[in-house]
Symmetry: C2
């Protein structure tokens, strides 16, 4: 039986234009009332996730910066350091290989960027030689500490709620969701997901984005 | 004819528990598609308002910190200084007359607080003697620069869109919404609004919170 659902935000509970799905919000509120734990993991920053958590009404901790920081009960818990992502970001920025995005102002454990054309392979290789990783969330690229991903967030939730893997369902659409798909959990993707996620998913919804989320959440018991 | 609607967030498009109203989001999206400009003004911080703007899909600039800062097209525009609110906040905090709240971490032009019991009158009086003001948003108190209020936000929007007062409708439920009710605009309140706002409102909705917002937005032409 699924006791916890971990959802990606952009492209999963939102449409491609980032409009949040009213059907997804409604379904999240409903399954929470039925006792299912719902959490969110995003590449976005803590204050944005604090807003989403508050206004959607998500009761469990939520994760920002691809699992790098957690928010619950007015507490921000960063699990990784900003030191190395920031140092490399500043070097690459001064070399004009990437540009930062607005939300970096509020980041605690990673940096987000848009690569200057032709430079992404180089950025990834430099990141790896520094013990860092890069990932594309579908909305921007992220420069992260090794081990900082949504799989890490999933392990935190598993520990907090003392769950088994098969009691957890994950749902996401993009490359930065892959680490939570590598766990032995139940895996769902909306119709718009990357092919690489679809090939390992247990459930591919008929509809895309938030409509797909609602489709999964409202049928949790029959999965 | 109403061309622009300026809405409060907490207690107006959300319920008392801060859950955002799906009917309000739906109505905002609909009237925007019909050509009405919708903006939001909140006591909350820029990154939270950036999230709300993005996920709800509000197209016009939005205002944080009770009108103290504006967000549009990835640009943050602070209209006031943090100097005096921060200095007085730190003094009052060290005297144990107030406690800060989490979102102060992201503030640019004001400070938010919870007064220590029995000290609010004193805080207001000290603020006034320093040329500052205090206001209760219904969710926390705010220490603001003089002139920093939602009436200021309304004037900015009026200027940006070259509108007359009678082409603007404002809607809010609490004390920090009063400054936009003092303008010669069309004034609506949800059923849950403070009595002081109800007495000057042109329209009091039958329903409260977001349901009231939907009631107004979906009947703009017949107001």
């Amino acid at each position: 039986m699924i006791k916890l659902v971990l959802l990606d935000v952009d492209g999963t509970i939102t449409d491609p234009g980032r409009l949040i799905s009213l059907r997804a919000i409604e379904a999240i509120r409903k399954v929470q009332n039925d006792g299912v734990i719902v959490s969110l993991a995003s590449g976005n920053v803590i204050p944005v996730m604090y807003g989403v958590k508050t206004f959607v009404g998500v009761k469990a901790p939520v994760f920002a910066e691809n699992g790098g920081a957690m928010f619950q009960n007015d507490n921000i818990t960063p699990f990784f350091s900003m030191d190395m992502p920031k140092r490399l970001f500043e070097k690459l920025e001064s070399e004009e290989k990437l540009k930062g995005i607005l939300s970096n102002k509020w980041r605690l454990t990673s940096m987000a960027y848009v690569p200057v054309e032709g430079h992404q392979a180089e950025i990834t290789s430099e990141a790896e030689s520094e013990g860092l990783v890069t990932v594309d969330s579908g909305f921007s690229w992220h420069l992260l500490n090794r081990g900082q991903d949504k799989g890490f967030a999933l392990e935190k939730l598993k520990e907090i709620y003392s769950l088994d893997y098969d009691e957890i369902l994950v749902m996401g659409d993009s490359y930065n969701d892959a680490p939570m798909f590598k766990k032995d959990v139940v895996k769902a993707v909306p119709a718009n997901a990357e092919e690489s996620l679809k090939t390992i998913a247990d459930h591919i919804t008929k509809e895309g984005n938030g409509d797909g989320v609602a489709e999964i959440l409202l049928n949790l018991r029959s999965l």
